[in-house]
C-alpha cells in the first residue's frame, strides 16, 4: 500500500516536518520539566513517610487514569481565559491555551505520573543505610540526594524518563482540547496524523512510521536499562 518512497515523500511535506519538529521540541521540554520537578518529589515520596502521603501519591496518580480529554478540559478550566487562574494570568499578559506552552503543559500533566511513579519505586529500592552513610560522612540532604540517591537509582530513573517521554510524544486527547491544532505551533505529530488521515495520507503515514520507530527505540532502551541495572552493581 505504502512504499518506502511514499514515506520519504511524506516526510518532505511541511505539515509532517512541522509536526515532528514540534513534537520533538515540546516532548523534550516536557521531559525536562518532569525530571527536574518530579525527581525531588519522587525522592521524598520514595524515602520518607509523612501524614497524608497516600493522598499526595493518589493525587499524582490521578492523571494516569483520567481520560486524556478530561485532562484537557481540566487544564482549560484551570488555565483558560475564564478559568480559575485565567484572571491572574491575563493580568501578567500570559495566554496559555492554544499556545506551544499549552502543548508542553498538557504533555507534562499526562506523562509525569509515569515518570514519578517509576522514580519513586527506584528511590524506595535504594538501601536506607547508603543514605544514612552519606549523612554520617558529612553530606547534607541535597548532596546525599545528588551524589548517592540519584546515581544509585539511575537505571530506574532512566527507564521512567523513557516511558514518560514516550507518553508525552504520543499525547493526543489533552493536547487537542487544551492546545488545539495549529500547524507549526500546536499541531503535534499524533494530531497531524489524525488531521492528515483525511487531507494528506502520505504525510500521516510518514509521521506514523517515525513514531513507531521512536516507540520501539524507547521500549528497547527501557529493557536494556532495566537489565543493565540488575547487572551493573552486582551483589552489594
Amino acid at each position: 500500500m505504502f512504499s518506502e518512497g511514499d514515506i520519504v515523500a511524506g516526510l518532505d511535506s511541511p505539515v509532517a516536518r512541522d509536526a515532528l519538529r514540534l513534537s520533538l521540541e515540546t516532548s523534550l521540554t516536557a521531559l525536562a520539566v518532569m525530571v527536574v520537578v518530579g525527581t525531588p518529589i519522587a525522592y521524598m515520596l520514595g524515602t520518607r513517610d509523612f501524614p497524608g502521603k497516600s493522598v499526595v501519591v493518589t493525587a499524582f496518580e490521578l492523571p494516569l487514569v483520567l481520560p486524556p480529554a478530561v485532562a484537557g478540559l481540566g487544564l482549560l478550566f484551570a488555565f483558560g481565559r475564564r478559568g480559575l487562574l485565567g484572571g491572574e494570568l491575563s493580568a501578567l499578559g500570559l495566554e496559555i491555551p492554544f499556545t506551544r506552552l499549552a502543548v508542553v503543559l498538557a504533555m507534562t500533566f499526562v506523562a509525569s505520573p509515569l515518570y514519578v511513579r517509576q522514580a519513586q519505586s527506584a528511590f524506595a529500592a535504594v538501601d536506607d543505610d547508603l543514605l544514612a552513610a552519606a549523612r554520617t560522612l558529612g553530606a547534607g540532604e541535597t548532596r546525599t540526594f545528588l551524589r548517592v540517591a540519584v546515581p544509585v537509582a539511575a537505571q530506574g530513573l532512566g527507564a521512567g524518563a523513557a516511558l514518560g517521554w514516550a507518553r508525552a510524544l504520543g499525547e493526543f486527547g489533552a493536547t487537542i482540547i487544551f492546545a488545539g491544532s495549529l500547524q507549526g505551533v500546536t499541531q503535534t505529530a499524533p494530531i497531524a496524523i489524525y488531521i492528515g488521515f483525511d487531507s494528506d495520507p502520505d504525510a500521516a503515514f510518514a509521521v506514523a512510521a517515525v513514531l513507531i520507530a521512536a516507540s520501539a527505540l524507547v521500549l528497547l532502551s527501557v529493557k536494556l536499562l532495566v537489565r543493565g541495572g540488575a547487572r551493573r552493581f552486582g551483589p552489594v
Binding site: D127, D129, L130, A132, A133, A134, R135, T136, L137, G138, A139, G140, R147, V148, P151, V152, A154, R232, F233, G234, P235, V236
Partner: protein, 330 residues
C-alpha cells in the same frame, strides 16, 4: 537518653573512652543506640555530647552531617557506584586518602567497585571511609557479622589494632563473646533497652549479672524455682545455691566448675549433683568440652580419657554451691 522502641524504651546513660564493646540479644536496642548518637534517629529526650560538644539535648539537635562520627554499618553500606577510593574520599573533604588506604592495606583495591570485593576487603574500605571523615567518635554496628567465621578472628584483631591506634572512643556492637573480648577491655551488655552490665570481659564470666550474660559468656543456665538457698530445678532435682532467692530463677554455673565422675562420689552432701548422659565430646585445645543433657562441662583431656567419656555414657555431674550464681528469671 531515652527513645521509645517497639515494645520497650531505650534508656541509656553511658560515657565512653577507648573501645567499648556492646553486646546483647537481637532487638535489645544496640543499633538504635549507635543511630541515636550519630543523629540518624532522634531520641525523645536526653543528652548526646562528644568532647564537650552538645549534639542533642536542651534544644540542640545537630544534624548527622555535622556530628563527625565515623559510622561503620552492619553490611558496610558502601556506595556501589563509586570505586573503593571514591568511597573513602566521600567524606574526606578533599584530603588525600592515599595514606589511609595504605594503612588499611587496600591501596591495591583503590579502583575496584565494592561489588567485586570480598567481605573482609569491604569491611576495611568501610573502616577507612569512616576514618577519612576525621571523626571524633567511631560507631561500628556488627562490623564482623558479614564475614565468614574463618576470617573473623584475624579481622577482629586487626580492627582492634586500628581502633587502638586512632585513640578515638569507639562503640562496637557485636553478637559474640569472643569478638567482644578480643575487641575491647570493656564490655557493655544491653537487654531490652537497658545496660545490664558494664565491665571487663572477665567479669562477665566470673559475675554475670543476668541469665543472658551468663549464657552469652558460655555459662550453664539451669532454670527452677528458688526457696532460700535451695532451688528445685525444672527436672525435679534440688540443688543448693550460695545466694538466697525466692521464685523463678536461673542457676548459673561455669562449665569448668562442673566435675564429672562415673558414679556418685563419696561424701556428696556438700555437692550438687545431676545424673546425666554424655551427648557430645569436643576437644578444645588443652580442654575437652563435654555436652551433657542441658549442661556443659569442661574437663582436662586426661580425665576425659580416664573416664572413657563417649556419647551415651552415664555420668554424674557435680559442682559446689559456692561456684554457682542465682539470678531472677522473668
Amino acid at each position: 537518653m531515652t527513645r521509645p522502641l517497639r515494645g520497650f524504651t531505650l534508656d541509656v546513660d553511658l560515657e565512653a573512652e577507648g573501645t567499648v564493646a556492646i553486646v546483647g540479644p537481637s532487638g535489645a536496642g544496640k543499633s538504635s543506640l549507635l543511630r541515636l548518637i550519630a543523629g540518624l534517629v532522634r531520641p525523645s529526650a536526653g543528652l548526646v555530647e562528644c568532647g564537650g560538644e552538645r549534639w542533642f539535648g536542651d534544644g540542640a539537635d545537630v544534624p548527622p552531617e555535622r556530628r563527625r562520627v565515623g559510622f561503620v554499618f552492619q553490611h558496610y553500606a558502601l556506595f556501589p557506584h563509586l570505586s573503593a577510593r571514591a568511597n573513602v574520599a566521600f567524606g574526606s573533604e578533599g584530603r588525600d586518602v592515599g595514606p589511609l588506604l595504605r594503612r588499611l592495606g587496600i591501596d591495591h583495591l583503590a579502583d575496584a567497585r565494592p561489588g567485586t570485593l570480598s567481605g573482609g576487603e569491604r569491611q576495611r574500605v568501610a573502616v577507612a571511609r569512616a576514618l577519612a571523615r576525621r571523626p571524633r567518635l567511631m560507631l561500628l554496628d556488627e562490623p564482623l557479622s558479614a564475614l565468614d567465621p574463618a576470617t573473623r578472628g584475624a579481622v577482629a584483631a586487626e580492627l582492634a589494632g586500628v581502633l587502638q591506634e586512632t585513640g578515638l572512643p569507639a562503640l562496637v556492637v557485636t553478637h559474640s563473646f569472643d569478638e567482644a573480648a578480643s575487641l575491647s577491655e570493656r564490655v557493655l551488655v544491653m537487654e531490652r533497652g537497658q545496660i545490664v552490665q558494664d565491665g571487663p570481659a572477665a567479669e562477665l564470666l566470673s559475675r554475670p549479672a543476668t541469665a543472658f550474660v551468663a549464657e552469652f559468656a558460655g555459662m550453664n543456665r539451669l532454670t527452677g524455682v528458688a526457696s532460700g538457698t535451695t532451688v528445685r530445678l525444672d527436672s525435679g532435682v534440688e540443688v543448693r545455691v550460695a545466694d538466697p532467692a525466692h521464685g523463678p530463677v536461673a542457676v548459673l554455673v561455669a562449665p569448668w566448675e562442673v566435675s564429672l565422675s562415673p558414679a556418685l562420689p563419696e561424701g556428696v552432701s556438700s555437692l550438687n549433683h545431676l545424673q546425666v548422659t554424655v551427648r557430645r565430646v569436643v576437644p578444645l585445645g588443652n580442654r575437652v568440652r563435654v555436652a551433657l543433657d542441658g549442661l556443659t562441662a569442661e574437663v582436662t583431656p586426661e580425665s576425659a580419657a580416664r573416664m572413657e567419656l563417649r556419647p551415651g555414657a552415664p555420668v554424674v555431674a557435680t559442682w559446689k554451691a559456692t561456684a554457682s550464681r542465682t539470678v531472677p528469671r522473668a
